[in-house]
Amino acid sequence: MQHDTSFTDQAFKVVGTRVNRPDGVDKVTGRARYGADAFAPGQLVGLVLRSPHAHATIKSIDTSAAEALPGVKAVLTADDLPENETNKGMMDILENCMARGRALYDGHAVAAVAAIDNQTARKALKLIKVDYELLPHVTDVDAAMQPGAPIVQPTVLDRETKEPTNVSRVSEFGHGDIDAGFAEADVIVEKSYKTEQTHQGYIEPHACLASLGPDGSGEMWVTTQGHFVFRNICAALLGLDIAKLKVTASEIGGGFGGKTHVWAEPLALAMSRKCNRPVKLVMTRDEVFRATGPTCSTSVDVKIGAKKDGTITAAYAALRYQNGAFQATWGMLGAMTSFACYDLANVKTVGYDVIVNRPKVAAYRAPSAPMAAFGVESTMDLVAAEIGMDAVDFRIKNAAKEGTRASYGPTYGPIGIGPTLDAAKNHAHMKAPLGKNQGRGMACGFWFNFGGQTCTDINIGIDGSITLTVGTVDVGGSRASLSLIAAEELGVAYETIKASVADTTSLGHNDMTEGSRGTFSSGMATIFAARNTIEVLKERAAKMWDIPVEEVAWEDGEASPVGDQHSNLTPLSLKEIAAKSPNTGGPIAGHNEVVADGAGVSFASHICDVEVDPETGSTRVIRYTVIQDAGKAIHPDYVEGQFQGGAAQGIGWALNEEYIYGDDGTLQNAGFLDYRIPVCSDLPFIDTQILEIPNPNHPYGVRGVGETSIVPPLAAIGNAVSNAAGVRMTHVPMSPPRILKAIEDAS
């Protein structure tokens, strides 16, 4: 059934309230089961051997000693993962899961074992002999673009010269004439920036329990942001029928984009198939850092021209993003998001996607946008200072609005950048006094948001309680928000609903929980599944009353007869209708499948105060405010939680987190001691302000809220630190040594 997805300005009864989440008790008692918390009879321990080299030819792998060790049940190399009909177009994914003749980065998997226990598996790894021949490597994005740089993927050719290159893609966006625009400008500021590579840093390492028989049937328990997509990819990589692989998503201990990609899961399945035993494979933190996740490091040039009255006449950015050892389009995304906050007559961005000897880059919360925003929003402050205009007023003057043609192409509908800037200007934070060595900064951010394929089931129990079955993994409270939506539609109490994430055999395909789509898309499918359920409930009531269904209305959780002729009939509650369902047609259910188009773009403005110690270069965030457009906050607690969590990740990125590579191309800080994410004592309370500018393409006006919050912090803190220290910071993270050096260089 087709449904109208347009926003209707309805009044809500339960949506927008701060109810307790349904999985709360499980999660505070230790009962909730995550990726590593499943066990199967006869399970083996799977471990992966990883390359200690940044770039090497694998001349040979001798697994004979490992195979001969008692207790070892399977040893796996790329030879066990042949190219086949179904994985032809996915060899990059398979090669990242396990090296095929070449180790492309420190941590690249080269072999794996499954053994009866951890001790035996560890011994077996040591018995595998790999003969490497080292190749020249490159880990820096700018170095990888230089002529003569070591080539990481020899099959990637320059479009014009046809010579091998590390630049796999060049993408251009924009409109107008930037040369003419810069010629009109009274002031032009041009600046270059760098950002270092960071990891999503989810606390739960990747983990799965895979069981696959020689008949090609199997199942997998896995921590993932999308078990349907994992099923499809693993089946294709290994040549299985999709329907024969049942994948169950565990509770997920954080993902932030890093659990949208398969890493070791295909290896666990392949080893299970090889020895016909369940294989549990749990990564160590070292493996998580070296072989999964990270976002791009970047090098960005920004040029903005403006008139003295504050009108931007032209804007340009060149953005170089390293994608790790495989082709990707993160630089393209950076080029798309760069100037999305502004209404510009002349704009051009060029994104370069670059391959280096580092782990394959994965999505990380609004992927690519924070680094572009760091360059653009830092330059915005410089231009404002140059023309003597307040930084917020300068942004307000140039903010995109409904009807603006976005720098990446589309024309905006109603959007929230202007309102978040107005809210920032008027926020009490802006008037808080600043002390010695303290500075204030602000910045804006944009993210597209995404919809995608989704389906949802509602089943009514004989007692009138309601099962809501969704296929989007709950990464941060979506079972609560979706239950609120089901309760709202059906007109029942929130507590009546039990929301579950179904395994892949129990529901149709659902895309990943990514792109801030969980509450947007599953919310939409839940609304329509509930409305379909109501149609069934009305039919059953009509049957019970023996009147035409057209004469039944649904309101406040009960069926009411319409018309004076039925004044003798009293309304039937959902519970009463459910109790009679065996006699009125059987189980009562509603279903909906949808490609949730029309995700609403999202904007935020952040304000930040820092104190910089000029002696040590250390920075302390003393005040932080997030203002973001949510469209509609279904569960305000978890919307605030997304705002605060993204800000905290951005603060870590801005001030401290970075992958440090040695001259030998190996990662030097693959652990939480040396890759330090913000701890409780590093942060202040993070103030939030939720704005609600409805998304016209969702019945409740929902936009995604999960990602935009990480976009402004790099620049907001950069601007604050620059104001506090009196020097412009252009390199993230702004760690103490970098700040000290900037202060020294300036004096």
Binding site: G30, G253, G254, D637, Y638, E640, F672
Partner: protein, 156 residues
């Protein structure tokens, strides 16, 4: 060589045999069946495996299973009094102090250790007491508020 360990976990007598080099974290998870104790790093940096050993807050990944012999282990599974949740557990739910929840058991054990020795901590004391526990989802805001609320509730 496996070693037989006799210990007390959340007040109950527990026996298991484990290899000499196995961490207490692995023994609790894989032999005692207490998977509320999580491994986030295995190097004592994230606090997801926080437990008490003879009342002292420790990372169970930094202690061997054999070291639990004759001692008292406390985990998140022992926090509630039967079906009555501990005030910290209640306030974590009430304040939405968890998103993914994988760090939550460690935070609850660490916060309980704090409130046991200091029933009225200020914000700074809470933040420093919990600085050994990493949370990547929340930015700690709602966690600190939940601990403040639980402390107030426990003081009565």
């Amino acid at each position: 060589m496996a070693v037989l360990v006799s210990t007390t976990v959340n007040g109950d007598p527990v026996e298991f045999a484990c290899p000499e080099d196995e961490t207490l974290l692995d023994s609790l998870r894989n032999r005692a069946g207490l998977t509320g104790v999580k491994e986030g790093c295995g190097t004592g940096d994230c606090g997801a495996c926080s437990i008490t050993l003879d009342g002292r807050l420790i990372c169970s990944c930094l202690v061997l299973g054999v070291e639990a012999n004759g001692r008292e282990v406390g985990t998140v599974e022992g926090l509630s009094d039967g079906s009555n949740l501990h005030p910290l557990q209640e306030q974590f739910i009430e304040h939405a102090a968890l998103q993914c929840g994988v760090c939550t058991p460690g935070f609850l054990v660490a916060a309980n250790a704090l409130l046991t020795r200091n029933p009225d901590p200020d914000e700074q004391e809470i933040r420093y007491a919990l600085a050994g526990n990493l949370c990547r989802c929340t930015g700690y805001d709602k966690i600190v508020r939940a601990v403040q609320a639980a402390a107030a509730e426990m003081r009565g």
